[in-house]
């Protein structure tokens, strides 16, 4: 753990009690995330990647181990509004306009009216939705709705952005486009991003660090620091480095699958 560590997990365990007996969702997870990193969590379903993200957000409580976010417990960090969270579904309120949806966290956190308006305009421009402020969610495509939900998570300027398969429900072409935009956004805002995905190309394209996880029990099997440059055009995916990293991720996923 160094001075610029934002998220630090040591010996993290989480067991859910279910009707079918205990489920070991996270086992001995150790991970440090430094400020400004783009970290992807990849693995098959049941590997605990979403659970880990929810632990960071203070939405789940680990049964064992320590986890700190910005030097606080996850719950303190949540109360301090340390992160913005993007869910798999955009989950915009149908009775609010796009601007109204982005304004939601600002209203809850008590920003002044003028500041709300200024921030809404700024983050909507950031996700390329300027001019859509007065539209209702149903008037937007799925990809645009998800961008609005990212704007909503950015609106209150937390320096951590947690994203749980945000583009999982979108088609490949829209997804490529959003990935490109997300990288540009990350470069401009210098946020620390935790990103859950089950797509290997998406993880490799976006991340500075790829965390490969495997199920039963959910654990980390490999952590790859990406040698790719920060500047990444879409065609970097045809380069040799890219293919090598993707190969290593695939190997890591396969290694975790021996018991199936």
């Amino acid at each position: 753990m160094t001075a610029d560590t934002v998220i630090s997990a040591q010996g993290l365990n989480l067991t859910f009690q279910t009707n079918d007996g205990p489920v070991h969702a996270l086992k001995d997870v150790n991970l440090d995330i430094r400020k400004g990193e783009f970290v992807s969590f990849i693995g098959p379903s049941g590997c605990g990647k979403t659970t880990f993200l929810r632990c960071i957000a203070g939405l789940e409580v680990p049964t064992d181990g320590t986890l700190s976010v910005n030097g606080m417990t996850p719950d303190q960090a949540r109360r301090a509004r340390a992160y913005g969270y993007v869910f798999q579904a955009a989950g915009l309120y149908p009775w609010r306009t796009i601007g109204g949806n982005v304004k939601l966290p600002l209203e809850i956190m008590g920003f002044s009216k003028s500041e709300q308006a200024e921030r809404v305009a700024r983050v909507l421009a950031l996700v390329d939705l300027a001019g859509f402020e007065k539209k209702f969610p149903w008037q937007l495509s799925g990809g645009m709705q998800q961008r609005a939900s990212i704007a909503r998570a950015l609106a209150f300027d937390a320096d951590i952005l947690l994203m749980d398969e945000p583009f999982g429900a979108l088609d490949e072409i829209v997804r490529d486009h959003l990935n490109e935009q997300l990288l540009a956004l990350w470069a401009r805002t210098e946020k620390t991003i935790g990103f859950v995905t089950h797509s290997i190309p998406e993880a490799v394209y976006l991340s500075t660090k790829i965390v490969v996880m495997s199920p039963r029990p959910g654990r980390i099997t490999d952590v790859i620091d990406s040698p790719l440059p920060k500047e990444r055009p879409l065609d970097i995916r045809d380069s040799k480095e890219f293919i090598d990293i993707a190969h290593r991720v695939r190997e890591g996923l396969r290694a975790g699958h021996v018991d199936d």
Binding site: A57, G58, L59, R78, R79, R81, Y83, G84, Y85, F87, Q88, A89, G91, Y93, P94, W95, R96, T97, L104, P105, E107, I108, M109, F136, P137, W138
Partner: protein, 306 residues
């Protein structure tokens, strides 16, 4: 307006069945009357006619069929008789007269509206309590359900008599019975509406560290609006039924219920039928008003009406 044709088709079918049914339903009465007026009736004695079904007697006396539609006190009035009675008591009478259905309608409607206001307010308060308080969730709902299993016909006279004991008469006891019937759909619909936000939406608010009152005003309440309108529509018609039922067993002298009873007791079915139809039209109008409000509200909220 696409639904106009199917609706008119059904109305026409009902009218046809009604008009056809008038003949056998009224034939015995018509035959008796015709005989008194010196017409030839087959068979000749009322006792023999008792052995005939309405349909059989109609076939035997085809010439009397037109007369079945013009009896003063028919067993089944024909549509034009009911329409005539309604025209006379709605349009031709002074609205303050006891003969006016508008007067009786207003008596019932005012109790309905007051009762609905009480019922929905109570229903919404209970729903908020049920959603926010576990003890209320466990305790109120079973009682709310149990309250609706008691026949209102048995309960209404008790409420009226008991309130009369305290000197409360007129509109308020009827409103209480309306409220009793209309609070329940509001409780059920609003509880469902307030609980309609899914786990993800509740999690989102947790990530903002939103208070539960913020969650209520910003998420739960707006999410419950579409459910609430469905409940209002059921509640307002239940409230009208409640007000009418409250007028039936108590010797009320005004209101739709009183008119129905008067028609029945004095052997004047036209009065009963006219009151019945006026009540149905009132209920339809109330539901239509709420449908229009629903459409307007949901459009203003940006949610297209389903």
């Amino acid at each position: 307006m696409k639904s106009l044709l199917p609706i008119l088709t059904i109305v026409a079918a009902i009218l046809v069945i009604w008009v056809l049914a008038v003949v056998p339903m009224n034939m015995h009465l018509t035959a008796d009357q015709a005989q008194r007026d010196g017409l030839v009736v087959v068979p000749q004695t009322p006792l023999e006619r008792q052995g005939y079904s309405g349909l059989g007697l109609s076939v035997a006396n085809l010439g009397l069929i037109p007369l079945t539609y013009t009896l003063d006190r028919p067993r089944l009035p024909s549509p034009h008789q009911v329409a005539g009675e309604m025209w006379e008591t709605i349009a031709l009478r002074n609205v303050t007269s006891r003969q006016s259905l508008v007067y009786h309608g207003w008596v019932t409607l005012s109790a309905t509206l007051v009762g609905f206001a009480i019922g929905t307010t109570l229903g919404m308060l209970l729903a908020v309590g049920i959603v926010h308080n576990r003890a209320m969730d466990m305790s109120v709902m079973p009682w709310a359900i149990a309250s609706q299993t008691i026949p209102i016909l048995a309960l209404a006279p008790m409420i009226i008599v008991m309130m009369g004991q305290f000197g409360i008469q007129g509109l308020l006891p009827k409103a209480v019975i309306s409220a009793y019937l209309s609070f329940f759909p509001v409780v059920v619909g609003m509880v469902k509406g307030l609980r309609s936000p899914d786990a993800m939406q509740m999690d989102l608010l947790r990530t903002y560290y939103a208070s539960s009152s913020q969650g209520f005003w910003k998420l739960r309440l707006p999410a419950s609006v579409p459910y609430l309108f469905a409940s209002f529509k059921i509640g307002i018609s239940a409230a009208l039924v409640g007000a009418i039922v409250a007028e039936l067993p108590t010797g009320a002298r005004a209101g739709f219920g009183a008119r129905m009873l008067v028609g029945d007791q004095y052997g004047n079915p036209l009065v009963t039928w006219a009151a019945l139809f006026a009540a149905a039209i009132t209920a339809a109008a109330l539901v239509a008003i709420f449908t229009a409000m629903e459409r307007l509200t949901l459009r203003r909220m940006g949610m297209a009406a389903a």
